[in-house]
């Protein structure tokens, strides 16, 4: 069965390591914070200028001057630091964030990602996404494997305008965990009960399937 949003977040959370500074995008990536494994501590970077983002405030703690990149009211953990947007993106662009998790419309076998613009539809802007994908060495993209109409989002070449070129190495979909290298997708794991055949069928770009494909367990 396809992974739920929570399961996707849970699977991504297993990639966290103790001491990681992590930037989580909006949507499923945000949920990853709820599944940090025991014994592991991570610090969340919010690109509006906060390192060490905490939980939402209580009603009493709400402070208009304390928000995250999603413009939500948040708190800061003990030991957090707060800085300007230029300093925040110096951190991001300079490759100092250990892991970035973000959503996408499409990725392709070249590691390209499209996530910000659909021609003909209203374009709201890329926000910090282009900086995040260009700056990070270690990115996990989370998205559904195919659109509601069954069209694959894992392509040989993105059809939408790119957010970044050649920067994505790992994708977690609701069906599979996939690595991108040497111009191909490589199937690493499959969702519980999802067949390799279904994954291959729903992957438009070239995909390499090893002899044994482990099933994720939750």
């Amino acid at each position: 069965m396809a992974l739920s949003r929570e399961q996707m977040a849970q699977r991504v959370a297993r990639e966290l390591k103790d001491g990681y500074y992590v930037n989580l995008g909006i949507g499923i990536p945000t949920l990853v914070a709820n599944y940090v494994p025991d014994g592991i501590e991570v610090m969340l970077q919010s690109e509006n200028g906060l390192l060490g983002m905490g939980q939402f405030p209580t009603e009493d703690e709400v402070d208009a001057d304390m928000i995250n990149a999603g413009k939500q009211t948040v708190t800061a953990i003990t030991g957090a630091s707060i800085f300007s947007s230029a300093d925040s993106f110096a951190m991001i662009r300079g490759g100092h964030v250990d892991l970035t998790v973000l959503g996408a419309f499409e990725v392709d076998t070249q590691g390209n990602i499209a996530s910000w613009m659909v021609p003909g539809k209203l374009i709201k802007g890329m926000g910090g996404a282009m900086d995040l994908v260009a700056g990070a060495d270690n990115i996990i993209v989370t998205m559904t494997h195919a659109s509601k109409h069954g069209e694959s989002k894992l392509l040989s070449e993105c059809s939408l305008p790119l957010t970044g070129a050649g920067c994505i190495k790992r994708v977690l979909t609701d069906l599979a965990f996939i690595e991108i290298k040497e111009g191909k997708f490589w199937l690493l794991e499959r969702a519980p009960g999802v067949s390799v055949e279904e994954i291959v069928e729903k992957t438009a770009g070239e995909i390499v399937v090893p002899e044994h494909v482990p099933e994720m367990a939750f």
Binding site: S46, E47, N48, G49, L50, Q55, F56, P57, T58, E59, D60, V62, D63, A64, D65, M66, I67, N68, G70, K71, Q72, T73, V74, A76, I82, F83, S84, S85, A86, S88, F89, A90, I92, R93, N112, M117, L122, I123, K124, G125, M126, G127, G128, A129, M130, D131, A134, G135, P161, L162, T163, G164, A165, G166
Partner: protein
């Protein structure tokens, strides 16, 4: 040190000289840390044809959004502008030009503008529509695009506290784009919640030194919250 006393008594004085077709740089991220009083004054002044550089354009009826009501803005340079029906309408109808710029590139362009750096290379946007028409080159085997700096006729900034010399500190994440914007305006106006005497701010903790600031004005802030997210208090 009268020559260094930057405090003015009104927003009229604070924005004196702002005229049609000028470029205005505005601090803030979403509705957080925005120069509310300067925006209101620009609306009152009725100047038009403005190019506004700001990460966002407020919401309908608040923040920079109010400058759309009388079509005072002709061009926005922003990274994300989607929170505003009037904005959409004017953009769709071609009344409002929009130059989308990645958030980190925007922050760096403003810093560069203040720092006398006319242009810099960044990997952000290479191979995307943002890189089209821009010069690109490789360093160490990686592709980068050339981005030029931004300066403005006026910079409008929201600080927390300023002293009379224009030294400013910011509060929490209301810092955001404000320090860079403060460096990049020909005339920089800072509105603050509190004006203190010189010496009250620790010299090493001043985030915008007074050299960048032309005018300081005491403001009143609504501080509207865009996404009020809360958790239950622990029992």
């Amino acid at each position: 040190m009268s020559g260094f006393d930057k405090v003015v008594d009104s927003y009229e004085e604070a924005l004196a000289g702002l005229d049609n077709n000028m470029t205005v740089l505005a601090g803030g991220f979403g509705l957080c840390g925005i120069p509310e009083g300067c925006i209101a004054q620009i609306k009152r002044m009725g100047v038009r044809g403005l190019t506004v550089v700001s990460n966002n354009c407020g919401v309908d009826g608040f923040g920079l959004g109010v400058l759309l009501e009388d079509k005072q803005i002709s061009k926005m340079v922003s990274s994300y502008v989607g929170e505003n029906a009037l904005f959409e309408k004017q953009m769709m109808e071609g009344e409002l030009e929009v130059e989308l710029t990645p958030q980190g590139t925007l922050a760096e362009k403003l810093r560069a503008g203040g720092a006398g750096i006319p242009a810099f290379y960044t990997a952000t946007g290479f191979g995307t529509p943002i890189g089209e028409g821009k010069e690109s080159r490789q360093f160490d085997g990686r592709d980068y695009i050339l981005e030029e700096s931004i300066t403005g006729d006026f910079a409008i900034v929201k600080g927390w506290k300023a002293d009379r010399y224009g030294n400013v500190i910011y509060r929490h994440t209301a810092q955001n784009f404000n320090p860079m914007v403060a460096t990049a305006g020909k005339i920089t106006v800072v509105e603050v919640e509190e004006i203190v005497e010189p010496g009250e701010l620790d010299p090493s903790q001043i985030q915008t030194p007074g050299i960048y600031v032309n005018r300081v004005v005491l403001g009143n802030f609504e501080k509207r919250i865009e996404q009020r997210t809360v958790r239950q208090a622990d029992a």
